[in-house]
Symmetry: C2
Subunit: 463 residues, 2 copies
């Protein structure tokens, strides 16, 4: 905990009432969606302007106080957890959309703008902000940028990185940098904007971001296809991508589907039982696209890659097919699942998944493994359900061993130990499975350039 | 010039005959397409493997020898010019495509693979490499990455940056880094790959790159539309982008068109004279798209934004419409043009262009200004033609003054002094018009992280 007199000097930098130190605020603002590290911040500060953020960072430099950025607190890697007496800088009061440029299709957002707020703003303008995920109702743009948030439309639209036209940041040294100025083409040296995207607040704070919007997709249509095995999903993806621009290509296993269907509130896609299912989505912008999709479906059936399938004929059917995939996470939460968010290149998915299945199945035959994820971009969500009879402690102890196997397998397959959730504190000690010692040394040196006193979210990404 | 005994030790690092010091090789490999700085390298070395590149970099570190990377030597900013006794590292013998992954649609290229070689390889695989520009027949992938090459399809496909799935680099410190490993989703700390893209070889050498391919576009169709003024191009762009995914949106002035038509080998698009023309292209993947394009055309006519227009009905007509735009550069080269490659945000293009026109027109009323460029991404090519009667020296002296006005206007409009050609040596001294002193200081510190001895392409981007 920092000295109380410092808290007083911090208060002088912001509006009255914008520094909180009560227990419930410290608890609420000191954590994200992870539960591994108990929150223990010294204070929460709520700046309202860029100048106030800069003053806070300069104050932290002067007094060697660690700062933790805080957005919607929906992170899944404990990157926004203050567990060591840090001062939390919340962007809740920097939540305004400042400007809209219709020809560039850019929206200037303060860091605390909520994802859904941007999505709704885009809709009002007849446009579309395509980065979407479960926490869109509370996550903030600053946090999305800090973690380079992904989600369910990455195969078509890419990660948050693709939608950042420009950034205004306050570096760890307290300097304000305006990065890229919303230009599409700008070949004037290193693109520093890219460094701040995915940096989890370790280099500085994003205070404003100019986000690009896109044409609204037309007549989105989904197919669910059942495959005889996981390998068959690959040629199906390949065949569809060759003719149609997919907006999503998700997969889930029969076990995942069974859990969702057991709820009783979602109709099955079709009757045929299959070990794996692909959910793909595209814009049926004309009859020709729909016809192409049906031709591809028949072709995949003929090849034996698909056993059965269905295509949505209405908005309601589209929603129902998506529920088969989207309800998985919530449904299996009942079993206190061990979860891991990992990725490999797309072609390696079947072999990688089988290897993990085999290791876990051999060592812990009573564990039920539920796979689902964004197969179109190689991002797998591994979920191991706790056997009902097994005490939590025993389950988590065994999962610690699973962790090691998973990361060793990730390393063997040249994959990523964190596909889209970030490193934070939860995966900090495993970073070496995905990044070399030389890379980590370089990253630390780059951090020192922007944050010479090491006050920006210390202990996140690397120790 | 470096010591002759050093050249001998350099020779021991590569295959026999792979170090050249003869005058014609020094002349040929010491330069790019710019002519401002006379080439004066000490030697040219041709590595064939990553290990040889690493050995050369370590040798350069040991002996404090400056290295200049050399690809297709088609650069337009003198970033690949060796004017100060440097050793040129040519990637001409690292020109193989090493691997293809059909499900990830990635191609593993050595740095010296020529752009067109990659484009042709993609075509053989039924796929498409979408970054395309005039020098595709000689430019190399390593150089494309070093400059983050753009071109004519950026509005749809983005810059080279978007197509780099993974990089293998040798840093200035002589370390080999494997960056991103071809993953779509990888949230494990700073994306160092992004730093090397557009770094003009100042941080290290790209030795291998995994490049993504895309579905081949179908039935590309172009429209040329004449507008009553420059402002009208903006709502036209806006209207089309709202309904159709454009693959290109170019513009040119009546003066540019007149020069091309005067050649006599390209038919005019239509008879109506207009001050500005837009060339837009899209995939006419179905009747519905073509109908939408025609509806939009009629709507733009009704609004008074378009005076006349034409849509290609065949591949031949598509080619002919593109010639109106693509022949400009070659056609005006007859007038020894002063050229500048600049960008602003799209909405600012009309005001920015008019301001430059006014300044130049007022000060030098005998100068003819020819504008064209990629208006869909804010990238303008400013060309001032030398009056026939004016001696070259006088013209270039006056253009130096123009340079200053242009960059001051760029700064005022928050634009970029180099949209897609890079900084190199030609724009090094003007970098401050686009990047702040704080940004430049940070860039230099980042360079020092990767290249502590300052041997990688010194004097490029910044002094």
């Amino acid at each position: 905990m920092i000295d109380p007199s410092l808290i007083e000097s911090l208060k002088s930098l912001v509006e009255p009432g914008k520094v909180l130190t009560d227990a419930s605020s410290l608890e609420a603002y000191g954590k994200d969606w992870t539960k591994q590290f108990p929150p223990a911040p010294s204070a929460i500060v709520f700046p309202k302007t860029i100048e106030e953020v800069q003053a806070i960072v300069r104050w932290a430099n002067a007094h060697q106080v660690a700062l933790v950025p805080s957005g919607g607190r929906t992170g899944l890697s404990a990157a926004a957890v203050a567990a060591n007496g840090e001062v939390v800088v919340s962007f809740d009061y920097m939540n305004r959309i400042l400007d809209f440029n219709e020809f560039d299709r850019t929206v200037l957002c303060q860091a605390g703008v909520v994802t859904e707020q941007l999505q709704n703003f885009a809709e009002e303008k007849g446009l579309y902000y395509p980065v979407d995920f479960a926490s869109a109702g509370s996550s903030q743009i600053g946090g999305n940028i800090g973690t380079n948030a992904g989600g369910i439309k990455v195969i078509r639209y890419g990660m948050t990185r693709n939608w950042v036209a420009g950034l205004k940041v306050v570096t760890g040294a307290g300097e304000i940098l305006e990065l890229n100025k919303d230009l599409v083409k700008n070949a004037t040296g290193y693109d520093l904007r890219q460094l701040f995207i995915g940096a989890e607040g370790t280099l500085g704070f994003v205070v404003e971001a100019s986000m690009r919007l896109e044409r609204t997709p037309k007549n989105l249509t989904a197919m669910v296809l059942g495959t005889p095995d996981l390998e068959a999903i690959m040629p199906v993806l390949h065949a569809f991508q060759g003719r149609i621009d997919l907006t999503a290509f998700e997969f889930f296993s029969d076990k995942a589907l069974a859990k969702v269907l057991a709820r009783g509130d979602v109709p099955p896609a079709f009757e045929t039982d299959c070990p794996y299912y692909a959910l793909l989505e595209f814009e049926a912008s004309s009859e020709a696209v729909t016809e192409a999709a049906l031709e591809l479906f028949e072709y995949c059936m003929e090849q034996g890659w698909v056993l059965d399938g269905v295509m949505s004929q209405s908005e309601q059917q589209l929603q129902n097919l998506w529920k088969l995939r989207e309800y998985i996470s919530e449904t299996i939460s009942h079993w206190t699942p061990y979860k891991n968010d990992i990725s490999v290149t797309i072609a390696k998915v079947p072999a990688f998944l089988k290897e993990i299945d085999a290791i876990v199945g051999e060592q812990y035959p009573d564990f039920e493994i539920v796979w689902f994820g964004h197969i179109g971009d190689g991002n797998l969500h591994l979920n191991i359900l706790k056997p009902d009879a097994m005490p939590k402690e025993e389950f988590f102890a065994k999962c610690a061993t699973v962790n090691k196997w998973v990361f060793e397998t990730v390393q063997k397959y040249n994959g990523s130990i964190s596909a889209e959730h970030g490193v934070g504190m939860t995966k900090r000690d495993y970073l070496g499975y995905s990044r070399s010692a030389e890379e980590i040394a370089v990253m630390k040196a780059i951090k020192a350039v922007f944050d010479p006193k090491g006050i920006m979210n210390p202990g996140k990404i690397f120790a």
